[in-house]
């Protein structure tokens, strides 16, 4: 980029740069701002004169900084512009005609192209010229108007998927007005018929400049199937260098979401115009593909819709008799398999098993009677669009199906017995086929000479018979009949599916007929003849950028035009739905060739990309501002004040950072690990009171209890966890040990809500006032009063001192009291229901309710349980042997409590054991 690429809107401002040396001298002469200092010794300074009048100089680098800042400001204000538009070049006053080939090929670079047109028009508007736009997709007589006006229409301009029609260039040439016109031709880069005509016409009226994107056009031809693999062929025009592109297969996944199902890289060898690749996909996946697309190409030519072409049909084959083991060639399905296997996926099995797989077609070979359920299911499936093909055979001929009246799943009534012609025991020669009648799906198929029929079932001549015949023999007897049923159809071949009754299954015609019936894959493009007279409804259409849109209410297209007629406003590329199938019409057909446009040497060809006009003033002014900020810092540093400022800034920064610290995220992660910890093993938990000593004792106590549990029972709790009521989820813990302390904060409402939830869902809280004075659990002790306050909002049922027969006294050990570090005060639990009675002869009352939600006592159990990491008791309990005994009892209480929590009233139920045993004995 030369210097010429830089321009200034107000160059005279640059003269101010000459003043910079003066500024240098002035800045140098002016001393730096004085520092103010407090100094008590100033008295001694009074009257002292500076020995030399030259002050300390501003340091050279600070001077340089300031000079640079000023210079940047001056240059910035002068309005530097990178790549300025040359105002003088081509400033003709002739009307400007923009010719644009707005085809799919132009879509590949459309934003750039539109920006280039916009640039041209804005220039023209500045010069006051009139302009007109001519779209070659639909040429209209150009109307010249103000360029600014035309410019407003540019955003709505989009490429058309059909590109240009062959005749449009010639038409456009004819529409050009007389007079001098300057032309800018935006080419899509593809060679077009009639280009020379239009170019000549334009050159006759004035200068022509061609703009063309440098990006080569790549396009994708419709995929074909070869040996079960999808063959993809890409075309290109323009460059000849080696290039790699990627073709993506889009389709819906089983969940119905559109996604890329496969990718295939294709490589254009140097000089090659084509690249071919094979994509091997499982049929199931291949059937899901809706379109192939060259990644990154973004135009309609790079998209190839597959329609039904890639779908392999699923055909269910069901034979009436499969018992003739070893006679393969006589199997009624043998020829069907041979005919269908290359193009369809065959399903075999029981009919009711196959129908849920929703096959595209069901072939019943000589199946006479169907069960009620089969009949219903099959009927439903046909009405939903299935194709049921039935073949006759000895069984059908012998059965009474559709004899007296037409069966739902038969197209015609059958006469009893059928007939045999040309056999050893009959007169006449085997019958050949008559040409297919109009309206038959087989119309146009060649009938081989050697196909003849020796036996068949015969249709009753009902009034509807004539319209249901789609193939007949030379003597007019129906060979194939068809009945539409809902969205589907039922087809009956009046011969067998094997070669017993006719040679039809041996011929190629058989395969073609199945194909026409859309039984086999619809891969072969529909023939012209088949399409004639049909109307195809667009389902989805492509726009110029290769985006697939719903077709909406677009009119249908006549079948004969669908495949061959050039694309245009009336025939958009897309997916069209016909009577039995969907056909894709692509921009690029199998035969399409694309070639790069060749322009005569006299025509100047320019690229689209033009370095945009970039004003640099803002950047320079920002730089000046930044330099001035640096100058402030430097000046502060020089005067020794930066430190103070820096300190303040650091404090502010720290505050801001502290505010932003990701506490929430950490807390979340912490919660998760905690939950996992708490749920992977049984965990005893205690409520954190905030009093370190009490919390440690509770933790050590639960640790000791855990050890005892592990030694003696099958409960093996993990290390205890302290629970913060405000923050932690309680649901993971079977019981909570809650030591009551004076300094404990009353939990918040949310915490109480959680606690109540916990209690209602089977949690147990062991309240311990730790003061041995709980008997009334009233205000007798400070901790008791605190307990009252703590427990007031809790949802606690009526309480009573542990009755003699409470389950807590016998869940593991038989206990009569529950000592901790203190001895023998009453422990309170949920009161037994008033109607609990002792059954005659039972030692206990029948107390079959849940676990008591709270146990309240004051015996300081945790202290009695507490052990160190090594297992030594942490607190003394009692004296000597009695003390040891008391500690043992405390442990036993703990074991009983945990058992009660974990097993509920299991032990209470044990009272029924004698009764149960007795009953079992009987």
């Amino acid at each position: 980029m030369s210097l010429a690429a830089l321009g200034f809107t107000t160059p005279w401002l640059l003269w101010a740069l000459a003043a910079l040396p003066v500024l240098w001298i002035i800045l140098r002469a002016v001393p730096p701002a004085p520092m103010r200092r407090r100094f008590p010794g100033v008295v001694l300074l009074l009257g002292l004169r500076d020995g030399d009048s030259v002050s300390d100089r501003t340091p050279w680098w600070l001077l340089l900084l300031r000079i640079l800042a000023v210079a940047a400001a001056i240059v910035g204000l002068a309005g530097p512009v990178l790549n300025p538009r040359d105002a003088d070049k081509g400033a003709s006053s002739a009307p400007l005609l923009i010719v644009v080939e707005d085809s799919w090929a132009a879509a590949r670079d459309w934003p750039v192209l539109r920006a280039a047109m916009d640039g041209l028009l804005s220039e023209a508007a500045r010069d006051g010229r009139t302009a007109a736009l001519m779209r070659l997709s639909a040429p209209e007589r150009p109307v010249f108007r103000a360029a600014a006006d035309l410019r407003r229409h540019l955003p709505g301009l989009e490429p058309e998927p059909w590109g240009t029609r062959p005749e449009s260039h010639t038409e456009a040439a004819a529409m050009l007005p007389e007079g001098s016109i300057e032309t800018r031709w935006f080419s899509d880069g593809l060679d077009r018929v009639g280009r020379a005509d239009l170019l000549a016409a334009l050159e006759a009226r004035g200068p022509v400049v061609v703009h063309e994107s440098a990006q080569p056009v790549v396009a994708l031809t419709p995929p074909t199937l070869e040996e079960g693999m999808v063959v993809l062929r890409a075309l290109r025009a323009g460059t000849d260098s080696t290039r790699e592109i990627t073709v993506a297969a889009h389709g819906r996944d089983p969940a119905g979401a559109e996604r890329v199902l496969a990718r295939l890289p294709l490589t254009f060898a140097a000089g090659a115009k084509e690249a071919t690749g094979r994509l091997s996909l499982p049929p199931e996946l291949r059937a899901r593909i809706e379109r192939f697309e060259i990644e990154g190409a973004r135009h309609a030519g790079a998209v190839s819709l597959s329609g039904d072409g890639l779908r392999r049909r699923e055909v269910a084959l069901i034979a009436g008799r499969e018992d003739r083991e070893g006679l393969e060639l006589l199997s009624p399905l043998y020829y069907l398999r041979k005919a269908l296997a290359p193009n369809a996926d065959l399903l075999e099995g029981a009919l009711l098993d196959l129908l849920p797989a929703n096959p595209d077609a069901v072939v019943l070979a000589d199946v006479a009677t169907l069960s009620e359920a089969e009949q219903d299911a099959l009927g439903e499936w046909v009405e939903a669009g299935g194709v049921l093909v039935r073949f006759a055979g000895p069984r059908l001929a012998a059965s009474d199906v559709s004899r007296g009246e037409e069966a739902a799943l038969m197209p015609v009534r059958l006469r009893a017995g059928g007939r045999t012609v040309g056999g050893a025991m009959s007169w006449g020669a085997p019958k050949t086929l008559a040409p297919f009648p109009d309206g038959s799906p087989f119309r146009g198929l060649d009938i081989p000479e050697d196909v003849n029929v020796t036996a068949q079932v015969l249709a009753q001549p009902d009034p509807t018979l004539a319209e249901r015949v789609i193939a007949q023999l030379g003597d007019g007897t129906p060979l194939v009949t068809r009945k539409r049923l809902g969205a589907g159809q039922v087809v009956l071949f009046h011969v067998t599916a094997n070669a017993e009754w006719s040679s039809l299954p041996l011929s190629g015609l058989f395969v073609q007929m199945l194909d026409r019936l859309a039984v086999s894959s619809a891969q072969a493009a529909p023939a012209e003849a088949e399409l004639a007279g049909t109307i195809w409804q667009p389902v989805q259409v492509l726009d110029g950028f290769g985006r697939l849109d719903e077709a909406g209410t677009r009119p249908g297209v006549a079948g004969e035009h669908l495949l061959d007629a050039p694309l245009g406003p009336d025939l958009l590329p897309g997916i069209y739905e016909g009577p039995e199938r969907r056909v894709a019409r692509n921009v690029i057909g199998p035969e399409t060739q694309i070639a790069a446009a060749a322009w005569p040497a006299r025509v100047p060809v320019e690229g689209l990309a033009r370095a945009p006009e970039t004003p640099l003033g803002g950047w320079l002014l920002s730089a000046a501002l930044a330099l001035m900020l640096v100058d402030i810092l430097a000046a502060l540093a020089l005067s020794g004040r930066l430190w103070r400022v820096g300190e303040t800034a650091a404090v502010l920064l720290a505050l801001v950072l502290a505010g932003l610290s990701p506490d929430a995220a950490r807390a979340q992660a912490f919660d998760d690990t905690r939950a996992i910890e708490a749920t992977s093993e049984t965990v005893l938990a205690h409520v954190l009171t905030g009093d370190g000593q009490v919390d440690d004792a509770a933790r050590a106590g639960l640790r000791g209890l855990g050890r005892v549990l592990s030694f003696r029972t099958s409960v093996e709790p993990a290390a205890p966890i302290g629970v913060d009521l405000e923050r932690d989820d309680l649901a993971f813990y079977p019981m909570l040990y809650w030591p009551v302390t004076q300094g404990q904060p009353i939990p918040s409402d949310e915490a109480y809500a959680r606690l109540n939830d916990y209690l209602r869902n089977g949690g147990l809280i062991l309240f311990d006032t730790r003061d041995a004075d709980i008997a009334g659990f009233g205000a007798a002790s400070p901790n008791g009063a605190k307990l009252q306050r703590l427990a007031a909002p809790l949802d606690i049922p009526p309480l009573e001192p542990v009755p003699e027969d409470h389950v807590l006294t016998r869940t593991f050990y038989l206990l009569s009291d529950f000592p901790g570090r203190h001895m023998g005060r009453a422990v309170w639990v949920e009161a037994a229901p008033p109607d609990a009675e002792r059954v005659e002869g039972m030692p206990f009352r029948d107390l079959n309710d849940g676990v008591t939600p709270v146990v309240i006592g004051g015996n300081d159990w945790a202290a009695a349980w507490a052990v160190t990491e090594r297992g030594d008791p942490l607190f003394p309990v009692g004296r000597g042997y009695t003390g040891e005994r008391q500690r043992e009892m405390a442990y036993r209480f703990g074991v009983n409590l945990v058992m009660h929590v974990l097993t509920g009233n299991y032990k209470s139920d044990q009272v029924h054991v004698p009764a149960l045993l007795e009953r079992l004995g009987q």
Binding site: P31, P32, A33, P34, M35, R36, R37, R38, F39, P40, G41, V42, V43, L44, L45, L46, L48, D50, G51, D52, S53, V54, S55, D56
Partner: protein, 294 residues
């Protein structure tokens, strides 16, 4: 007006809150100096009880101790121990110039001056001397209450840049401790010292200086302001002034020293970056010096 009282009270509380630390620091400092009681061991004018003796002719009736006399038939006179208690008056410069510290971790001069003054007061009190503040507000007395009052009085601050020593209320032949930076006008100091010398009062001049005032580590264009902001001096090259400033400072010290010598006073200079203990020892010995001869 309504909020005057609360604000006064708040300020007073803030002030008293400052006292105990100062007192504690001063006590800690004073405790490093050990000394003994030095009573005269004979009856005389003093505060402390010495003995009862029978009334002799010539005794004034009002000297009779009636309580003691009533217990017996004879009449007694209560004699006190004759004490040659020294009266030491302290003056600490309350001016703004003292509130200067060149660095953050240095105490300002006023703080150091108060600390030294209070520590000296404690020491003297413990030694049986009477301590007071110059001026009429706090005449020399003994006792812990007096120390507290001195501590209170020491926290007074003045908005002036420099203050002249208040030499009123001097006890003849007492001793005076003047603590200041003596950077202000030397004339009042000279006048105070000569006046004191005239009344037989001797004492100690302690000049407290910040290290920055000794080193003058400044350079570049600077406007120097006095602590109260009344005086300014602008220079273009501060570094150039250094030599002349130091010369003037040395001259000032010389003048003070000479003045002290002429009036029989002692002059000492203390820097806030050195320890307070050495200064205290020097102060104590300087004040005690020649006490016996008084």
């Amino acid at each position: 007006m309504a909020d005057a009282a609360p604000s006064l009270r708040a300020r007073a509380e803030a002030e008293t809150a400052r006292l105990p630390p100062l007192l504690a620091r001063a006590e800690r400092l004073a405790r490093t100096v050990m000394m003994g009681e030095h009573g005269r061991r004979r009856a005389g004018t003093g505060d402390d009880f010495w003995q009862y003796r029978p009334v002799q002719p010539g005794d004034s009736r009002r000297d009779i101790d009636w309580r003691r006399s009533a217990r017996s038939d004879a009449q007694f006179i209560r004699q006190r121990e004759w004490k040659l208690a020294q009266s030491v008056m302290i003056w600490v410069d309350p001016a703004a110039s003292m509130r200067f510290a060149s660095e953050k971790d240095l105490p300002d001069k006023a703080d150091r001056a108060r600390l030294l003054a209070l520590a000296v007061a404690l020491l003297l009190d413990r030694g049986g001397e009477r301590v007071g503040m110059t001026g009429t507000a706090l005449p020399p007395r003994r006792g812990a209450a007096q120390i507290a009052r001195i501590a209170q009085a020491l926290s007074a601050e003045s908005g002036e840049d420099h203050a002249a020593p208040d030499m009123s209320g001097l006890v003849p032949h007492g001793r005076v401790l003047l603590v200041s930076d003596f950077l202000g006008d030397p004339a009042p100091v000279r006048a105070a010292l000569t006046a004191a010398a005239d009344r037989g009062v001797r004492g100690v001049l302690l000049q407290v200086l910040d290290p920055a005032e000794e080193a003058f580590p400044y350079h570049g264009r600077t406007i120097f302001e006095s602590m109260a902001g009344t005086l300014t001096h602008e220079t273009l090259k501060a570094a150039d002034l250094r030599e002349r400033y130091l010369a003037r400072l040395a001259a000032r010290k010389e003048a003070l020293s000479a003045l002290a010598a002429a009036t029989g006073w002692q002059y000492g200079c203390h820097h806030t970056d050195t320890g307070a203990q050495a200064a205290l020892l020097w102060l104590h010995s300087a004040i005690s010096e020649g006490r016996g001869g008084a």
